[in-house]
Symmetry: D4
Subunit: 149 residues, 8 copies
């Protein structure tokens, strides 16, 4: 069986990545899961932390966002499939932005969110090949598409 | 002077497109401005209106989102420059998604939003070639990049 | 309003192209409709007719299919939107092949067929941005995506 | 000798994949063969099985077709060569669609079908680099193109 | 009817381009024919003529070949269809090179040559969508692929 | 004769663009010449002028450089041929950067510089299709590649 | 040190591939050399041998050329560098065609031929990054570009 | 953790590559660092050394620059991230050229230079995802983007 690389991005305040990881490991699938930096503070501060402080918060954010983009774009390019989760909190525009980026590269997209977000996410779901409500459904999809035949 | 095509997408509840249009027309620039369908109800209902009703709201949204994507993707592809505006209200994930799509195609991006949204938009701004706060600044940018030389 | 180019391919034994053409002309949309050669005999015979006869029917078909591909691929590349119709009769593998070709190029696809073909066409419909049952619905979709905004 | 990846898609009701597999293994070629999910029922039901039932058969098909597309597109992209078989039964529009998709990506295509289907498949054969009638011929082609030199 | 651009390259010592031109003009097709510089001496000498002499013939040829490539590559990119003619005389490696370049870009190729060259040109013909023996056949092909429908 | 678009970038302190323009106009060639903003002060200040001042000169430069990139990238993409001039003064890293950008897009490149810069520019010249010493040579090259045939 | 893949195509009647192979092995470079099928008779006959005889020599050649293209295109795509040799005998249009194909994909090209062929090969040499006269020079180039740094 | 490939190009007269190498090795990151040939004399002379002398220094440079391009382009294509350093001395147009080439391919770029070069490098910095002043900052960026998550 060939290896698959899955990039799990979006919401960082619940355990959905762990649940997908566990499910995949339990199924012994040859999958490598990639993720963005999920430590919120580290992600926000990496720019000024490494490259020096800024007096303007705009540039502080700017430097950090670009360093994170080194990882983000590299992982989108490498992924066979991307999974993006949206939660109730925060605006999560970066998740939607990365989903659009992945769509333009032709990457198969699985979205993961509660039904309550359906209307707001209709364009993202419209570009996805599957719309899941639970991490376990994502695991089942990956098990299915990777089964022996 | 050569023609430029500008695609103005994102927020649909203020007059920013009109102000950009007016500014460009006043400057007599050879620009064609494109926009998504900005009639909110028409945009939401186009799927079921044209292709028949759905019992599930998920599929109602799905059909509409995909028809709108015919216009959206065509206009992103045609644009020399895309301008995306984010407002305070609504989640606007489709705007962020289209910005990511445009970024992956290498389109020059101008973002337009209030400073209050800077932190939430840092990844989108990080991929943009200009971050404006007013429609008039967008006009000035376009006047500048299209000037005689 | 900018011009759109629409490529109408697939089934050649009913008047669906004319009905779309009429609808678009009635709406005065700036659209150019393209079509494959719809004269069945001419299409089948063009290879041997122009380049000389063949003793084997395989090569007779081969020469004709390739000459038709000059037109087919050129029109798919030029199209902003492709519309593909499947009917009850014939295998129409060339229509499905061209739909796959268009999908790989990222062209927005509208399919047009009776509900009775839904199961057989599910993969093609799955790659489409709209699934219509009548030519009039295709016209409405095009009117919608080309409206002033 | 370098590894080759071959994607075998199309007809799922005869033993052609096994015969190609056996022939390649007998020849000890460094080939990995990929296939779509060939369990017809599993393939048809995967959408509703994993993501929940649908009242409309259109959406039931739709969800399944898209999940299968995750595998299909990934395998077409990975393949060095694609082999597509058409049989007498069923419409097999998905096979023709995937062949068109592969053609647009520039993948070398081998078609496999009985001579009786030649006229109906002339456009697909016209885009192929070889047209075989038996699985054994496909094996011979692969042995030939992978020989030491 | 939409315009087509045809690039006619290869052999420069017979009147095949004129015959194609005449045939197309007689048919009143909206075609623009492009050609390389067909003045053999001008083509050979353009490098040293414009950019200064060279003591080594290798560099004399080199400078000329590259200036000609400015035209050649631009015209291949612009062409909807390329027609390449091979004659009995000279090695014409540049014609075969440009045909390979066009093939990699996915341009529809028509080859034009006497049957006596078939074996030597089998790889080029294998990548072509039509193999003609006379300029008149090329005209007929273009008339066919551009007919009203 | 078809139109050509030429992008003239690099050194902005001598009259080389005017001399090329004059030569092309004298030859009545259907060429459109594009240029970056050549007003040094306007180019340096556009960022802060339009989008507001910065306390750090780094960000002042940054905002300006990106606005100029909107024009620069658009014009490189549109150009059939790019001409880049290097002079004795200044570092002109942006000119070399844009030449590399154009090379990766496959644009035909003509370099224009004094022989004294040959060693320093050998990699850029190595990627060019012509290396000229005077604007008049550039005009002759363009006249040659655009001649009737 | 990273692996490099080199595709050696063109002339098949002298020992140049062996000499390059030996040189690279002596230098213990991590290189894999690929080649087309160099058994002339096998290459000419593969089409009819595997897929059945043809009465017309045109189609006999056609079937063989296309099967060889499966290998040829796969190896060009895989190669980091392509080396093409031209000899005095035969027309070798397939070698020039493949060189053009490789050029359009942006593959670094090394040509290998006697000085006597310089004028005839000027366009191919013009697209190459090195023009060698002996296999030993090709080995030296590869040793140089792969050295530790 | 997945492997990353980093291409370190630009200035060759200080120990910045060694410092980055050491930092990465100390952090035990799965990184492979690539570099151009940094032996200045070898790099300048490789053309004539391997392929024979030239009477004109232009062609001497030309042959060398192109051989170096075989390595340069291959490494840019392979890199996940490119790091380019500019120093005070020399014109370093090849570094800026390669940065532009990498930018057009969408490679994440990190620039490394003293603040004194900021104004001259503003366009290159504007296309970069990070602007570092010390090799240690580059190491920190790579450690950050490669951390577990």
């Amino acid at each position: 069986m060939q290896n698959w690389t899955i990039y799990l991005f979006g919401e960082i305040h619940s355990d959905w990545r762990e649940r997908i990881d566990q499910g995949l490991r339990a199924a012994k699938l040859p999958v490598e899961c990639l993720a963005p930096v999920t430590d919120h503070a580290a992600s926000d501060d990496c720019g000024v932390e490494i490259l020096g402080n800024e007096s303007e918060s705009f540039w502080m954010d700017h430097k950090g966002a670009k360093i994170n983009a080194i990882r983000t774009r590299t992982y989108i390019e490498r992924a066979d499939v991307v999974v993006v989760r949206f939660g109730e909190k925060y605006r999560q525009w970066n998740a939607a932005f990365d989903a659009g980026y992945a769509a333009a590269l032709g990457k198969p997209i699985i979205t993961l969110h509660d039904p309550g977000l359906t209307h707001a996410l209709k364009e993202v779901d419209g570009a996805a090949l599957a719309v899941a409500e639970t991490p376990e459904q994502v695991v089942e999809i990956l098990k299915y598409v990777m089964r022996a035949s």
